[in-house]
């Protein structure tokens, strides 16, 4: 093992590799509830070529490699379950290209959502990307790898759907380009009209290769962005409200929130509608369309629009929203985790009921934010529970609640988003067995030595 350490030092320089207890401790856990497991080494490459050298070394020495971005999935996907090397990608932090006309950006694997947002605002203010609600340290690549969603997902699908090309170091060490960039100098398509090979890497959590560069589609950044708030106390109405709003094709983002405290929130469902436009006229027209779409609920007194005061707007419009992270400190405990099934929208009432039932059963504080994906084809529903890191019993209860939520979501036609290793097993058990066989074959082909983030998507 000391040979591996020395080899890593030769590859990246001694300042960027550690086998010390402190780095091993920190990189052996994430902020969620999965049990820790420490790596033997933490390494921070600067270039694709360095990643390649590390993967070749890992193959020679049969040492596991787990890539890490911001480490915010909360489901243990960056915990090195079998030790080995954690590869912190954040030194690969260059924004390589913005193509204004084809509207895409090419970034290295460590570029954060925060950095890209800032860069676009400064240099290309008429363009934007789909910013997730996670803190700004979340990397573009890791977010795509877990099929993350963001502020443009209602209109354009998962953030992984917005990928426009990849550069990958395969599990065997070859550098491979995916999409139009495989044969063109431009990164405008991840697949079509070629076979779409991006699916070999997106959603695989680094088990098939390490993405070192990524093209991401950019979208118009409208001059005005505003928020509307529709309130109903009837969970059963939420799916139809969403359907009506999505039908207008006027709304950028739709998020449904539910939480028990402060008391004014209890029993109410706040549907946040984000409207964008280049003029006041455009904004007013879109608002009018949304308003008219939901007029029927106003007339039946089942719901209505709530005025959004000037003080309410900044936190609601903030990207990313600091309120997401603040949820961890609601009970002054420093922890929260969520099970986030992707599911049909009509499942909202059932999921909401289960969220409250589990909170009551396990005496946990909860909240939920459900984001509409891709024009209403699905939603990401979050079973979110807080826990106190200094209270092992509460951590245990939160974990059991999340496990039950995941079981329930699968029973109710959902597919678990960024599943932890236990949830991955649940998914694979329920999966069409020929599909599972295909996945296993792909993984075996791309990672013959079983060194890429082992333990994940692994058939037992």
């Amino acid at each position: 093992m000391s040979d591996v350490y020395e080899s890593l030092q030769k590859i990246v320089g001694k300042d960027y590799v550690s086998n010390r207890a402190e780095e091993r401790y920190f990189y052996g856990r994430d902020p969620g509830l999965m049990p820790p497991h420490e790596p033997d080494y933490v390494v921070m490459p600067k270039t694709t070529e360095k990643v390649q050298e590390i993967i070749k070394l890992a193959n020679r020495e049969k040492v596991p490699v787990t890539p890490k971005g911001g480490g915010l999935a909360l489901t243990g996907l960056v915990i090195p379950l079998k030790g080995g090397i954690v590869m912190d990608m954040k030194r690969m932090d260059r924004i390589l290209e913005v193509n204004e006309k084809a509207r895409y950006v090419v970034v290295e694997a460590g570029v954060t959502h925060g950095a890209l947002k800032s860069y676009l605002q400064k240099h290309h203010p008429h363009l934007r990307h789909s910013i997730p609600d996670s803190p700004p340290i979340a990397t573009i690549v890791a977010n795509a790898v877990i099929h993350g969603q963001g502020r443009l997902s209602q209109q354009h699908g998962f953030n992984s759907d917005m990928v426009s090309g990849l550069e990958v170091v395969l599990g065997t060490g070859e550098i491979c380009r995916i999409g139009s960039c495989a044969l063109s100098s431009q990164w405008f398509s991840k697949g079509a009209p070629l076979p779409d090979l991006s699916g070999l890497f997106l959603g695989w959590f680094g088990t098939t290769g390490i993405i070192t560069k990524l093209g991401m589609k950019l979208y118009p950044c409208k001059k005005i962005r505003d928020v509307m708030l529709f309130l109903t106390d009837k969970a059963d109405l939420v799916p139809e409200v969403i359907r009506k709003l999505a039908h207008t094709e006027m709304v950028e983002d739709i998020v449904v929130t539910a939480q028990p405290l402060p008391l004014r929130f209890k029993g109410n469902f706040y549907i946040l509608l984000y409207i964008t436009g280049d003029s006041e006229e455009e904004i007013e027209f879109k608002k009018k369309m949304a308003w008219e779409a939901l007029m029927v609920y106003f007339e039946s007194r089942d719901g209505g629009f709530v005025s959004v005061t000037p003080n309410m707007k900044p936190p609601l419009l903030a990207m990313p929203s600091k309120d997401t992270a603040r949820f961890a400190d609601v009970s002054k405990g420093g922890g929260f985790e969520y099970s986030g099934p992707i599911a049909p929208i009509d499942k909202y009432p059932a999921y909401l009921g289960k969220l409250e039932e589990l909170a009551s059963k396990y005496k946990l504080f909860y909240s939920s934010a459900a984001r509409v994906i891709d024009g209403g084809h699905s939603m990401m529903f979050s079973f979110s529970y807080t826990f106190n890191r200094a209270n092992p019993d509460e951590m245990k209860r939160a974990k059991v609640a999340l496990d039950e939520a995941a079981e329930f979501a699968l029973e109710e036609d959902g597919v678990i988003w960024k599943p932890n290793i236990n949830e991955q097993q649940m998914v694979m058990e329920r999966m069409d067995q020929n599909t599972l066989k295909l996945m296993t074959s792909i993984k075996q082909f791309l990672d013959p030595n079983g060194i890429m983030n082992p333990g994940n998507w692994e058939v037992k």
């Binding site: 300042d15 401790y25 400190d329 922890g335």
Partner: protein
């Protein structure tokens, strides 16, 4: 002293990493994370490691101690953290350092810092009798003087700090301000000692300084260093210190507004570096800029990261001596020097002897000396008074 009970609270960090950034997320604004890039060197990393240490999940090691002591206590984390405990973060780190000091488990460089202050009254191991050697016979404070000029260790012993102190004294003399210094009777202010966690020594220094101020009937103190300003403003009152306090930039700005200082015309493009202990700690952002803007012919340009988002020079928490962040092009002062140069400014103005030394060295290390002069505001002003 307002040290918090960090052990019962420190688990509250979620490690969301907002603490690494400036407000616009454009870069990394935590000096030690920017320097080392392991997450363990960020505020979240530190808090998780301290909690692990308290729980017995990691053993103390010199590396662990270095991780703790590479924090410059610049307060960027406090500024950016979204949680309610944000104002307490630096106190938690200082609290953990204090426990390490009590156990005798600190990095050797920090131990030497304490030994020097304990034995010599300054971190440079210079003789107490030489504390006023720079002062060229500047009058000692006597009862009835309006201001005590508190010079501090850097102003007394560091070559750059001494130049800065002489410039300030020349300006005060020229503008007819009644003031004096303590000379060899001055004690270290203790700001760094506090931040490094040696609470016993800190208390000793505060008591000695406070006693001296009381004996001399000091009513108004003007400090050369923002570090001294910070501790005298925020820590000394708990020990009964009772005096009016200002940083020298506040006094000079006041003198300019009252037309007691009239700088001649300059020709310079200047960018200003906010010292953490003046800016984030004490919300003094305007006066230094107003001084520069009052000088005819000076064009003031801002660095990308300024005011609350200013990137620390890396000198805080005694690092101007312990130098735990040095040795790399990613050392904070060198990063900051490059950022200053990118503005196109020919002068990097500072208002702190620690920043002056850190950035002067960094400009040399970056080979930018022919493009960028690092000057304290007092030096800039004094040159223009001389020219007149």
């Amino acid at each position: 002293m307002q040290q918090k009970d960090y052990a019962s609270q420190i688990h509250r960090c979620f490690r969301c990493d907002y603490c690494k950034f400036p407000t616009d997320y454009s870069s990394f604004n935590c000096p030690s994370y920017r320097r080392f890039r392991f997450d363990s060197y960020s505020t979240g990393g530190r808090l998780w490691l301290i909690y692990a240490w308290l729980k017995g999940e990691i053993e103390w090691s010199e590396h662990f101690a270095e991780i703790l002591y590479t924090c410059t206590t610049c307060k960027n984390c406090t500024e950016q953290c979204p949680m309610k405990f944000a104002p307490d973060i630096v106190d938690w780190i200082v609290g953990a350092r204090s426990d390490m000091v009590e156990k005798g488990k600190i990095p050797p460089r920090v131990a030497r810092f304490f030994e020097a202050v304990y034995g010599y009254g300054n971190p440079f191991k210079q003789l107490r009798s030489d504390r006023a050697a720079w002062a060229n016979g500047t009058k000692k404070y006597a009862t009835g003087d309006e201001y005590l000029l508190y010079v501090g260790c850097l102003g007394s012993y560091d070559e750059n700090g001494q130049k800065m102190a002489r410039s300030l004294i020349d300006i005060l003399n020229a503008s007819g301000v009644s003031f004096g210094i303590l000379g060899e009777e001055e004690e270290c202010c203790g700001n760094e000692i506090y931040m490094l966690g040696e609470m016993g020594l800190f208390q000793n220094l505060v008591e000695k300084n406070s006693q001296k101020f009381k004996e001399l009937g000091v009513r108004k103190i003007v400090t050369l260093s923002p570090h001294a300003y910070n501790t005298m403003k925020n820590n000394y009152p708990a020990f009964g210190g009772s005096f009016e306090l200002c940083h020298y930039t506040q006094l000079l700005n006041d003198l300019i507004e009252k037309n007691k200082i009239k700088p001649s015309r300059a020709k310079a493009k200047v960018t200003y570096h906010d010292p953490c202990f003046l800016g984030r700690y004490n919300n003094i952002y305007d006066e230094p800029r107003q001084i520069l803007q009052s000088i005819p012919g000076i064009e003031l340009v801002e660095m990308e990261r300024n005011k609350r988002d200013a990137f620390c020079c890396g000198g805080g928490s005694g690092n101007f001596v312990t130098d735990l962040l040095a040795g790399s092009a990613d050392s904070p002062a060198r990063v900051r020097a490059r950022e200053a140069c990118e503005t196109g400014a020919d002068t990097l103005a500072v208002a702190c002897p620690s920043c002056l030394t850190m950035l002067t060295d960094a400009v040399k290390a970056e080979d930018l000396d022919d493009k960028l002069a690092v000057k304290d505001i007092s030096q800039i002003l004094e040159e223009l008074l001389s020219a007149k």
